[in-house]
């Protein structure tokens, strides 16, 4: 009896010591990986592992995507059934026009748009495909199919024709990881433009006078703005209304130069939301709904200046507060990213 009890105690203490050893080992690895001397080597190993797995990922995705699409379609049955009736009426007309693959055309137009970014004309770019839309539940990241061999490096900005996507936080040989602007740990210094104190809604920063493409595509709802400017003393009158615009819609907008002031602020991602929040806006400024926000031209900034980030979607000022809560909707829809541009621009050291 006593021998059995002794054996049971010995087994229990062995179990406990093994578990404690494994927990301590895990914590040691975490401390080394977090800020320890091995963090760089571990990061390299992670990049190498992602490089090795990425061809398998792509292969599996190409096999599974049709099944996934049908499952996702089945979950939205009612909506799809009503759409189906409307679409059936259009199919006969469209069949004559659709001679080539729609998907290929869409992708081609996406890539063409990426080659002609209105706000990065002189900047070298690398066009990359998104191979994983969500690498982790604990950070908002995407994985691209281009790495250091294609000239992609850590710190480079990632954009689409609509605007800023994020920045590269890790780069392997053939893949890289991008931290989205909506991640709570991402802070962007941004600029808002005003003319005589009134918010300017323009798809390019006022320093540029070139005609520009409205930052909108793939059916996302964004404000389109029209404005009229006259003399230096006149106030820019603006109308802002939400509208769906297609990738081909082009609006010639000449931004005002007169009495233009700019203020700097910080835009932060918000946990559990696809929007950003604006902070450190001077109390004297009065940003308005629909106002466009660009990356700031401050020295040492993480992003090149003048990239559209989003537009103000909500301004709430509580009584007694100096500063209101300002919500920014990004121009880019992160749920259906296919191709992006990596700007080969690095922040000043």
């Amino acid at each position: 009896m006593a021998r059995r009890r002794r054996r049971k105690n010995r087994s229990r203490s062995k179990t406990q010591s093994t578990i404690i050893f494994l927990i301590l080992l895990s914590l040691t690895i975490v401390s080394f990986a977090y800020r320890g001397p091995l963090s760089v080597k571990i990061s390299h190993a992670q990049n190498y592992a992602r490089d090795v797995v990425s061809p398998i990922q792509r292969g599996v995705q190409s096999m599974v995507n049709p099944i996934s699409n049908s499952i996702i379609g089945a979950s939205n049955y009612n909506e799809i059934a009503s759409q189906n009736k409307a679409l059936q009426r259009q199919v006969k007309v469209l069949q004559k026009q659709l001679k080539s693959n729609i998907d290929a055309q869409t992708r081609l137009s996406e890539i063409t748009a990426l080659e002609n970014l209105p706000y990065a004309q002189s900047m070298p770019i690398v066009v990359a495909q998104v191979i994983n839309n969500s690498l982790s539940n604990y950070s908002q990241t995407i994985e691209l199919d281009k790495g250091t061999t294609s000239g992609v490096g850590v710190g480079m900005s990632v954009v689409t024709p609509q605007g800023l996507v994020g920045r590269v936080i890790s780069a392997g040989g053939s893949t890289c990881v991008v931290l989205l602007i909506t991640d709570p740990s991402n802070t962007i210094s941004v600029t808002l433009y005003f003319n005589n104190g009134q918010p300017i809604n323009s798809s390019t920063p006022p320093s540029s006078t070139a005609p520009t493409t409205t930052a909108a595509s793939n059916g996302t709802t964004q404000p389109t703005t029209t404005q009229s400017t006259a003399t230096s003393q006149s106030t820019a009158t603006q109308t802002s209304q939400p509208a769906s615009s297609s990738p081909s819609s082009t609006t010639a907008q000449t931004a005002p130069k007169n009495n233009v002031t700019q203020i700097f602020a910080l835009a932060n991602g918000q946990s559990g939301s696809n929007h950003l929040s604006l902070s450190f806006v001077p109390p004297t400024a009065s940003p308005g709904n629909g106002q466009f926000i660009f990356t700031a031209s401050l020295n040492g900034g993480d992003y090149p200046p003048g990239i559209p980030v989003g537009f103000i979607s909500d301004v709430t000022i509580k009584p007694g507060n100096l500063q209101g809560s300002i919500d920014v909707a990004p121009f880019v829809s992160f749920t259906n990213l296919n191709y992006v541009d990596v700007l080969q621009w690095l922040p000043a050291p």
């Binding site: 093994t18 690895i29 401390s31 599996v60 996934s68 994983n132 982790s136 604990y138 559990g272």
Partner: protein, 168 residues
């Protein structure tokens, strides 16, 4: 086929599915963690020590593909493997439904543990709606997927046999 080889092959398949497919099936950008479910299913079968050890190894491999701090997954899966293995002898787990719900709860708690752990390291924000989604997604998906996973790991057949023998 030896059980260890079968589980290693299953681990590779689950990792590929997790990395290639699961991001498509997301709810508000939160997706299920199948790897955690695998650790629970294996630990239920092999007990606390081997379950925790398996969790540690799987965590090391999974950490290579995750963007969280390396080692966090190991810590999560060691604890998950230990708790699942330790509770595998409880009588209530003769009922497979209870076992599935428990697996869902365990994986949800593990996900919250990671959020709190990352918060302590200043790597995550407050516990908010994203965390609630994380708990819901892990609980619902892992409760539903537990039985197929247990069958794949060999536990379902064994427990069914036990159940039939007890009836006979």
């Amino acid at each position: 086929m030896p059980y260890s080889i079968k589980i290693a092959a299953l681990m590779v398949i689950v990792l590929i599915v997790q990395l290639s497919v699961m991001d498509v099936y997301n709810y508000n950008l939160v997706h299920d963690n199948l790897v955690a479910l695998l650790v629970v299913a294996v630990a239920f079968k092999v007990g606390p020590v081997r379950g925790a050890t398996f969790g540690f190894v799987v965590g090391l491999i999974y950490g290579l593909f995750s963007t969280t701090i390396y080692g966090t997954s190991s810590l999560e899966f060691v604890l998950l493997g230990f708790v699942a293995g330790r509770s595998s002898n409880l009588n209530i787990f003769d009922n497979l439904l209870v076992k599935s719900v428990f697996a869902g709860i365990l994986t949800s708690i593990a996900a919250v543990f990671v959020v709190i752990f990352l918060k302590l390291l200043d790597q995550a924000t407050d516990i908010d709606s994203a965390t609630v989604n994380l708990v819901l997604v892990n609980f619902v998906a892992n409760t539903l997927l537990y039985l197929p996973m247990e069958k794949l790991t060999g536990g379902f057949v064994a427990s069914s046999n036990d159940a039939m023998q007890s009836v006979l």
